[in-house]
């Protein structure tokens, strides 16, 4: 007989000897914690139950046990951890008003997941369909399909939401699986402190015991060689054991500078899904979902106005909506189109929204991991020429600058150079999907910085 069977036998017999109320109160959540060498340890849920079983039912329990197994010489009682806690996952309660909370408390300490992010409140549109479908599949069969899953897309488009949704869904579907969400920056800090404390092994072992590892913003691993190396080992260990790995970044693996080749190829080895800009219809759908969540309704023309003016960032879309919600709460009436326009004016015209040539050049340089000086210089190295042409193209496209102006900004080049650069990029855009992607991402960064 194993521990469970012994205890079941005890419970079955003891029921006959005591009242139902007493049985329900004192024997609930009890079990045998260990059984060896004639000594049985009974685990009880609290100290009242422990005292009671020990003092009132001790003899009768011992008698039953002895009859079951003559080798039992001693029965001990301990207070065990109640096992209920593991099953309970925090439920979300969306705050009705604008009262802010200590967000840190909501995050599950073990998994780092914020329960607010779920598939249920993730709006799917053509722009994120693929990523969403892959994420959904992964949450159903972690480790078996699409491993690793790599999701990339610009700022404020829902990468983190999608990643955390997978984690939360896995926890819901498979409560025993160990999930861990960690932003790459925190991971780096972990590596650094493990090196400091001479506990790199412990650090690695901790991560190798995880079933689903979610690493957010892997582009921050760029240039951190030791972290990359540690991550490489963890990655391999997990991958070999069919553990799911999920990664996100603001650009495809190819475009992450200073990333070890072996990591890059591994990132590309599973499934890569991108999240691009939401189209107009999806933006409207998002606005409608969000306003429903907040319990307010706005006229269609107002939503249309927000959706057509904020195109590149879902977070900002929500920000715009929040302003209108606040207006409605204070004045107790729904803002019409004119009011919405004046309320949102500052949002659209905030100074950092306006791109200028400096910002464009700076962003392009950062994106390709070059120095600004190099882009402006007259170097004809291949790795500089292309970024320079991209920058010229963007100056022309975004700012509608004249070719002579563009030429001047790049170290006094001739306007024909600028024309050539722009035409070349336009030509390449038609054939090269990768370039289209890169330019999209650069634009996102220009407008979101």
């Amino acid at each position: 007989m194993n521990k469970e069977e012994i205890w079941q036998a005890v419970l079955a017999q003891i029921q006959l000897n005591i009242s139902q109320a007493n049985f329900a109160t004192w024997f609930k959540d009890t079990s045998i914690a260990s059984y060896k060498e004639g000594e049985i340890t009974v685990s009880t849920p609290n100290s009242f139950a422990k005292e009671w079983l020990e003092n009132k039912y001790g003899k009768i329990i011992f008698k039953i046990l002895y009859n079951l197994d003559k080798e039992i010489k001693e029965v001990k009682y301990v207070i065990g951890k109640s096992e209920l806690k593991v099953l309970k996952r925090p439920q979300i309660s969306l705050p009705t008003a604008g009262q802010l909370e200590f967000e840190e408390f909501k995050i599950d300490k073990e998994t780092n997941l914020n329960p607010r992010y779920m598939f249920e409140n993730f709006v799917v549109g053509p722009f994120n369909e693929l990523a969403h479908a892959a994420a959904w599949a992964v949450s159903k069969k972690p480790g078996l399909v699409y491993n690793p899953l790599f999701i990339y897309g610009g700022v404020g488009l829902g990468k983190t939401h999608l990643l955390q949704s997978i984690g939360n869904a896995v926890l819901k579907n498979f409560s025993q699986k160990k999930v861990n969400y960690i932003p790459a920056e925190k991971f780096t800090t972990g590596v650094v402190s493990s090196i400091k404390n001479h506990d790199v092994e412990g650090f690695k072992n901790k991560y190798q015991a995880i079933d689903v590892l979610i690493l957010d913003d892997v582009q921050f691993l760029a240039g951190k060689e030791k972290t990359q190396e540690e991550f490489f080992h963890i990655f391999n260990a997990l991958y070999e054991n069919n553990k799911q790995i999920i990664l996100s970044s603001d650009r495809p693996p190819k475009a992450i500078p200073a990333l070890a080749e072996r990591l890059r190829s591994r990132f590309e080895g599973g499934m890569i899904g991108d999240i691009s800009y939401p189209d107009y219809e999806t933006r409207i759908a998002i606005l409608k979902t969000k306003s429903q969540e907040k319990g307010v309704a706005f006229p269609d023309e107002v939503l249309d106005y927000i959706a057509s003016n904020i195109q590149r960032n879902i977070r900002e879309l929500e920000g715009g909506l929040n302003r209108l919600v606040a207006y409605q709460k204070i004045n107790n009436r729904t803002p019409n189109l004119d009011i919405a326009k004046s309320l949102l004016k500052t949002l659209f015209l905030s100074p950092n929204k306006v791109a200028n040539h400096k910002k464009i050049i700076q962003t392009v340089a950062e994106f390709y991991d070059l120095k600004e000086k190099e882009i402006i210089s007259s170097s004809r190295k291949k790795e500089v020429v292309k970024p320079r042409q991209v920058a010229m193209f963007l100056l022309r496209e975004i700012l509608k600058s004249s070719y002579p102006f563009i030429g001047r900004k790049f170290g006094g080049k001739d306007h024909t150079t600028a024309i050539h650069a722009c035409e070349k990029i336009v030509r390449e855009l038609e054939n090269d999907e990768g370039l289209t992607n890169e330019i999209d991402l650069i634009k996102q960064r220009i407008f979101s910085a």
């Binding site: 109320a21 007493n22 329900a24 109160t25 609290n46 100290s47 009242f48 422990k50 005292e51 009671w52 003092n55 009132k56 207070i79 951890k81 109640s82 806690k85 309970k88 925090p90 439920q91 008003a97 604008g98 009262q99 802010l100 909370e101 200590f102 840190e104 408390f105 909501k106 300490k109 929040n322 302003r323 606040a326 207006y327 709460k329 204070i330 004045n331 107790n332």
Partner: protein, 382 residues
């Protein structure tokens, strides 16, 4: 069992233990108070299986014995007796009460069915004046709120070190922390303790020990905590309150306490409280009042508006350092903190409010006193 005791003494004991004896469908015995007499001591015990309270008094004893009787009837009856000698006598599970012109018989229950109050080892302990302890506990106890999803924060957090006791509570919108410095020779612990006491037990502690003169001794063990005050005449405990501890780790709240500030305001606390109360009359459904802090003119303005009632605006002169700031709070949360800070202060106290932008928590402290800290989250500004 046969004893004689003064009515007031008996009433004191019954009132202390009666509060936690509760209606329980599963275990009706919990509605009872266990009365036991042993070696010249009368002992009253009650429990709700979370908290257990025991009370002792020296009595004139003729015969030992014990019985459990329903608490409501016992306390209701004893409260109305004249302050004379009361005789208690047990006859076959019936408790006979005699006092001057009154004679009663209360049907008792088998004392063997009464739960056993868990023992707490008495090795690890600290001692401090019970009033001081309760006053400090009272400044955080109401902040905790029941949460089934996060049982940890529905209790009061305690950290006990060699010379310091920290109490903290939060409901995830605000957080209060009180630090109490301990006399080194009153502390007898071998390691630091961090534990969580259920809010109900903490409130009961304040009720029972809050007005008591003398010292309170706290004993620690892994799942239980014991609070004890001694009898004045002999060395024997008078009241013992044991409580279960909440399992789990308290959130690392130190992380959320801002280390620096953008705006710092110092102002007289009572005037601030009055203005908030005024402004609260005009605040809307979500209790929102807005503060506007102007470092140039050194003033803080309060706004509130309610579409159905009207609007309010007032200002206070204050010492302001740093950036201008606009921030909205739930006035109840602000008031709770300010009232906790103001309580027990005799002179005209000043409060320090530190802010870091309109979406980060505000910190309230008494000026010149770092021991109490109140952190409150704003309402998202409109």
């Amino acid at each position: 069992m046969k004893i004689t005791i003064l009515k007031d003494k008996l009433k004191e004991g019954v009132n202390i233990v009666e509060k936690i004896s509760s209606k329980s469908i599963n275990l009706p015995i919990l509605n009872n108070i266990l009365i036991s007499v042993e070696k010249n001591f009368l002992n009253l015990t009650s429990t709700d299986l979370e908290v257990g309270i025991r009370w002792w008094a020296l009595v004139k004893m003729e015969k030992e014995g014990q019985v459990a009787v329903p608490s409501k009837i016992l306390s209701g009856f004893i409260n109305f007796l004249p302050n004379k000698l009361v005789n208690l006598e047990l006859k076959d599970l019936n408790l006979k009460i005699e006092c001057e012109n009154y004679q009663n018989l209360i049907k008792g229950v088998n004392p063997e069915d009464f739960p056993i109050i868990p023992k707490v080892s008495t090795e690890e302990k600290i001692t401090l004046p019970s009033r001081v302890f309760c006053r400090n506990l009272a400044s955080v106890v109401d902040i905790a709120s029941f949460s089934s999803t996060k049982p940890e924060i529905s209790g009061i957090y305690f950290l006990i070190q060699k010379d310091l006791m920290v109490m903290a509570a939060t409901d995830s919108f605000r957080l209060g922390e009180k630090r109490v410095y301990l006399e080194p020779d009153s502390v007898n612990i071998s390691k630091d303790y961090s534990l969580i006491i259920p809010q109900k037990a903490a409130k009961e502690i304040i009720n029972i020990f809050g007005e008591k003169e003398g010292n309170l001794t706290i004993y620690f063990s892994s799942n239980q905590i014991l609070f004890e005050t001694p009898l004045s005449e002999v060395s024997h405990p008078q009241i013992q309150l044991t409580s279960r501890l909440i399992e789990g780790d308290y959130p690392n709240y130190q992380e959320i306490i801002p280390k620096k500030y953008d705006t710092r305001i110092v102002l007289p606390i009572h005037e601030f409280i009055d203005q908030i109360k005024l402004a609260s009359l005009f605040s809307g459904k979500i209790n929102e009042i807005k503060l506007k802090i102007d470092p140039v003119k050194n003033k803080i303005s309060l706004f509130s508006q309610n579409p159905d009632i009207g609007e309010h605006q007032s200002f206070l002169v204050a010492k302001v350092e740093g950036k201008p700031c606009e921030i909205s709070f739930n006035y109840r949360f602000l008031l709770d903190g300010l009232l906790n800070i103001a309580s027990g202060q005799e002179k005209k106290p000043e409060v320090v409010l530190e802010l870091t932008g309109s979406e980060k928590p505000g910190v309230l402290r008494l000026k010149g006193d770092e021991s109490y800290l109140y952190l409150v989250m704003p309402i998202k500004s409109s």
